[in-house]
Amino acid sequence: MPTPTFDDPCATARDEATPRLARGLDLRPTLIGFEGDEPTLYVRSAPAWVGTTWNSVTAALVMLPCLLGIRRLLVVCESRVTDHSIDDPVARDAHAERGVLVTRAEQHGDDRPVISGHLLTWQRPGPQQVAWDAPIRLDDGPWGDVLSHALGRADRQGPGDGRPSSLVYGLSRCGVVVAVAPRWRERYGLDQPVDPRGVRREDRRRARAHRSAGRPSTVEAAS
């Protein structure tokens, strides 16, 4: 996947969605965090959660940006466009059109969060091909409330021991993909050892190896 950009959310959404939609796969809710214009964090929801526990999906996506204090976010997810003039819910679902929704959220200082959204509908002109229609501008979309709440809580406070590495470990055990840009692992504190009290029994050997790998192997004499 090419490097995401905050200023062109539609291009980022197309880059994320096209390889999956062309192969007939679903697009899972994905969050990308930015520091300034630089993309730093990528969080993708687990497939087993989608469609069953939507609150867990949204919580898993925004929990880490809150803890890391990220104030610029993009969320890409699949969406259905329905015609509300159709009363019958079955007929409304049958006539629904699939699209990709990208929501952009940012906050400067104590200002109100600025939320904007774009809806990208697509066609399939041939096998393994995706043709995108012109984007439709939205005011905020269904992610607006969640993201503005998350930006308001981006105070570097988190669950558990508050270590980002522990939260990432917990998320990744549930299938949530978390990736970080080069050089930002250390800045976000993700190179810190996971709290051993929260490590599953089957992961303890790896956690011990990770802790000892981060420890200096020799002690230099102080001059």
Partner: protein, 242 residues
């Protein structure tokens, strides 16, 4: 088919090319065991090692799938395809009866700076009479029972000797063969006998794989398997190293 007349070297790698004849022969015979095919660097696009899983036993410490993954962990291959028989289930209703039988093909393709994983399913006739019900179709890689195991094994890169690992697997009942030079000679016959240290080392890795991934467990265990960090932006790294 040689590398020169295979267009796959420039196009996307299609794992079904590797296993089409093997899978059809297995379906004709009415029994599809798990197969793992590996190709090292320099072997082109043809597999060099094939491992056919031993039968499962209720007394197993680790499932045959976790043991086979040790061959990937010994030395991450250039390409690997894992064929696993499975049952199709509705994710939203796990207690319902299976919808049918399928074969799950999980493919690892190593590239500079990382590797890609793909998963495909092929629905097969429920009576096991050798019929493919539909063409292979891509599925979410997380839905493959061995995808997280494959990713973990490639990431572990334990650095053990591959031939000794294969010899241990053949002692445990797996059928290990090589197809190099167009012959089907037994791989085990050309290997030194593994010692107790080799067995212990491979057993320890297999037990850890089993505990972390439970590849042969029911569908509900999909929520307890580690994330598979594929499809992330170019040059980025997974945030969790465990």
């Amino acid at each position: 088919m040689t590398d020169s007349d295979r267009p796959a070297s420039s196009g996307p790698f299609d794992p079904f090319d590797w296993v089409r004849e093997l899978v059809l022969a297995d379906l004709d015979a009415g029994d599809v065991p798990s197969r793992l095919l590996l190709a090292e660097d320099g072997q082109g696009t043809e597999p060099g090692v094939q491992i056919v899983a031993r039968p499962e036993s209720p007394h197993d410490d680790a499932s045959p799938l976790s043991e086979m993954a040790c061959a990937i962990a010994a030395r991450p291959p250039r390409r690997a395809v894992w064929v696993v028989p499975g049952r199709l289930r509705d994710l939203a209703d796990e207690r319902a009866a299976p919808l049918g039988r399928c074969l799950v093909l999980t493919c690892l393709d190593r590239r500079p700076g990382g590797w890609q994983l793909h998963a495909r399913t092929i629905p097969v006739h429920p009576d096991g009479n050798g019929l493919l019900l539909a063409a292979a179709s891509d599925v979410e890689v997380e839905l493959s029972p061995v995808a997280s195991l494959m990713d973990d094994a490639a990431r572990l890169a334990a650095g053990h000797d591959l031939q000794r690992t294969l010899a241990v697997l053949s002692i445990w009942g797996h059928t290990v063969a090589t197809t190099e030079m167009g012959t089907d000679r037994s791989f085990g016959a050309t290997l030194p006998a593994p010692n107790g240290s080799d067995r212990h080392r491979v057993r320890r890795i297999a037990d850890e794989f089993e505990a972390r991934h439970t590849p042969a467990a029911p569908a509900a265990s999909i929520r307890r398997r580690p994330a598979i960090p594929t499809g992330i932006p170019d040059g980025w790294a997974p945030a969790c190293l465990l």
